[in-house]
């Protein structure tokens, strides 16, 4: 697909967004995303999971536009509480606390938020431009993938996630296999046989992905928060000028450029997680700076770089989903669940077979980013007040909405029971380092993995060793082996250098 046709499709996408309810849902999505980002205790994953069931009655385009809006909107919202009350609204904003909060204490909260908003906007636009250029091109290449390549690709995505996230590769693998086993409950996609239903009608149709993901992400976080002291007593500093000083502009613009590149390219990596690009960006800014000793005391590039990387990451992370059908993070996994729920298969065929779906979604992201920067700049104070809502009022409300959301999938209390059981179990096993992301990713991809393996075996007439005769498969298998072998060493060094484990909300 050349640039002209890409541009033409994008223009059609803008026309489509401007029609119908698309623009309304985009606005609802980004506003809800901001809300989720502002409120500590709820992240983009939980927020997307909570709203997902409510999108059943929407068209696929409207649904994805809204859910994607939540995803990148949360990245904007998390900054506000990081700067104003030293409490990150979501994990990607943790780094922003280091220099953002000191800036607020110096009376420069407005400049910190303004630079973060500008950087987020530019980073988001950069990532979307990358999506425009790389997306169709990658899709065209991915059409060369057959069942063996898809099998290896899914395994590669999974092993990268397991290797980079969580404390233990063994526990990550265990959770991945549990997710795979859960996905096998119900009807075998290749043979049509019913498996592991044990005579229960509810299990014949399988366990619902939304119920499990809401349980392990949203409900677990609610339990964790309800077990804490939720009184927020901090005062919100006053916000004055939203712009940096004149002499800071060159520094800010360079930080934003670097942040865009770091965030975008790291977004392409499965398992990278949204906090890693922010940590890398902060480290780069500190290393490059003429005054590294001032980092942590309120330097503007300590906010500009990471916040830009954050939003560029969220755009970059959509590329593997749209082009290859591989979710690279929990929130993207939920988004993929939404695709499947609405009968749209993310992957190589998306740009060629469903252009009427994907281009409005991409166009809506440009508009969504614009809406967000418009909301952030003059309304930062208003958003900050929302973060003062005590958890004791917020979380019971989230519980009832989650219950109703899950119930509305199949109008079956069984799904609510699954959500509660999943949340209960996840609450305890998370304490001992069992990550939930591999479970959710294999749960979503389980059918595809099994189908591609079965098709490959049929193609190769039972001789799976023929997979090594396919160059793409060889490369992917090499990445799998490398990521598992050196995953432990690399992860230990990365964590030592760059910081703690990724949160899954």
């Amino acid at each position: 697909m050349d640039i002209t046709s890409t541009f033409s499709h994008l223009m059609n996408g803008f026309v489509s967004v401007a029609s119908g309810y698309n623009l309304l849902y985009c606005t609802i999505g980004v506003v809800f995303g901001m809300l989720v980002g502002v409120l500590p205790g709820l992240g983009p994953t939980a927020g997307t999971a909570i709203l997902l069931p409510l999108t059943f009655s929407m068209t696929p385009t409207e649904s994805i536009i809204m859910l994607a809006g939540i995803y990148y909107g949360a990245m904007y919202g998390g900054t506000i509480t990081s700067v104003l009350i030293n409490t990150p609204g979501e994990t990607a904003s943790v780094i922003t606390c280091l220099d953002g909060y000191p800036m607020a204490k110096q009376g420069r909260a407005g400049a910190a938020l303004g630079v973060a908003a500008m950087g987020s906007f530019i980073g988001g636009l950069f990532a979307l431009s990358g999506l425009l250029l790389l997306g169709p091109a990658l899709s065209a290449q991915a059409l060369k993938f057959g069942p063996p390549e898809f099998f290896c690709l899914i395994l590669m995505g999974l092993t990268l996630v397991i290797s980079l996230l969580g404390k233990s590769i063994i526990k990550g693998l265990m959770m991945a296999i549990v997710g795979l086993i859960l996905s096998m409950i119900g009807v075998d996609p290749f043979n049509g046989t019913i498996r592991f239903a044990f005579g229960h009608l509810n299990l014949i149709s399988g366990i619902d992905f939304i119920a499990v993901s809401m349980g392990v992400f949203a409900l677990t976080e609610i339990f964790t928060n309800l077990a804490e002291d939720l009184k927020i007593t901090k005062e919100i500093p006053k916000i004055q000028s939203m712009l940096p000083y004149k002499e800071e502009w060159p520094i800010v613009l360079k930080s934003i450029t670097r942040g865009s590149l770091i965030g975008f390219f790291m977004g392409l990596l499965p398992g990278c997680g949204s906090s890693i690009p922010t940590v890398v960006s902060y480290s780069v800014e500190k290393k490059i700076s003429k005054h590294p000793e001032k980092f942590g005391t309120g330097v503007i590039e300590g906010v500009a770089g990471p916040e830009t990387a954050n939003n560029a990451f969220s755009g970059g992370a959509l590329i593997p989903l749209f082009t290859l059908g591989i979710p690279t993070s929990p929130a993207i996994a939920i988004l993929m669940g939404a695709f499947i729920m609405h009968g749209v298969a993310p992957g190589p065929g998306l740009f060629t077979e469903r252009p009427e779906f994907i281009w409005p979604v991409i166009a809506s992201m440009f508009i969504g980013n614009l809406i967000l920067v418009i909301m952030n700049l003059p309304l930062a104070n208003a958003w900050a007040q929302i973060s003062k809502i005590p958890g004791k009022y917020l979380f019971p409300g989230v519980v009832i909405i989650s219950i109703l959301g899950v119930y509305s999938i199949n109008f079956n209390l069984f799904d609510v029971m699954v959500m509660i059981i999943a949340g209960f179990i996840a609450y305890f096993i998370k304490m001992v380092g069992f990550p939930m992301i591999p479970l959710v990713i294999t749960f979503i991809l389980g059918d595809k993995l099994e189908l591609s393996l079965a098709q490959s075996m049929t193609m190769f007439r039972g001789d799976l060793m023929q997979i090594f005769h396919r160059p793409i498969c060889v490369v992917l298998i090499a990445i799998i082996v490398l990521s598992l072998l050196i995953g432990n060493i690399g992860k230990a060094k990365l964590k030592q250098k760059f910081g703690g484990e990724e949160s899954e909300i």
Binding site: N191, T193, Y393
Partner: protein
């Protein structure tokens, strides 16, 4: 003695049990469906077998490592512990009684018990009533979700 058992050990033990259960059930399924095509038991057998192996390794490691014990599972502060008990209890209450007595009363009781952990009972009841009615209107009336109701229709 039970309280001094590590959570990690218990969890890994549970994984061993679950994987053995699924492995046994996968042996009841066909391994091959035709000469070259895998049957419904092919991947379950390999997956659960691999899970048994990993679970046993993790179980052995858990015996050597330090970790949270069962008596450290819940927050030490009584108020926070009760918050959790009330939350779990009210969720179970909702599941058990929603079809019997309907969405409105069950949600009201569930939310009142959860809100009462942070505020006085009359205020908790008022907030619960408002929230329950709002959810009922949004989901049943606006979104047309068939939420469970009692004989009286609510």
């Amino acid at each position: 003695m039970f309280k001094k058992i590590k959570l990690n050990t218990l969890a890994c033990g549970a994984f061993v049990a679950v994987s053995l259960f699924f492995f046994y059930n996968s042996m009841l399924l066909k391994y091959w469906s035709s000469k070259y095509a895998p049957g419904p038991g092919f991947i379950p057998r390999w997956a659960s077998g691999f899970l048994i192996l990993l679970s046993v390794i993790a179980f052995i490691y858990s015996l050597k490592e330090e970790g949270i014990t069962l008596d450290q599972l819940l927050p030490p502060d009584k108020t926070r512990r009760v918050n959790l008990y009330v939350t779990w209890g009210s969720l179970v209450f909702f599941l058990l009684f929603v079809k019997l007595i309907g969405f409105l009363p069950t949600s009201f009781v569930m939310l009142t018990s959860m809100f009462s952990r942070g505020t006085k009972l009359p205020k908790a009841a008022l907030i619960s009533a408002i929230l329950t009615i709002c959810c009922y209107i949004v989901f049943k009336v606006v979104l047309k979700v068939q939420i469970p109701t009692n004989q009286l229709g609510w």
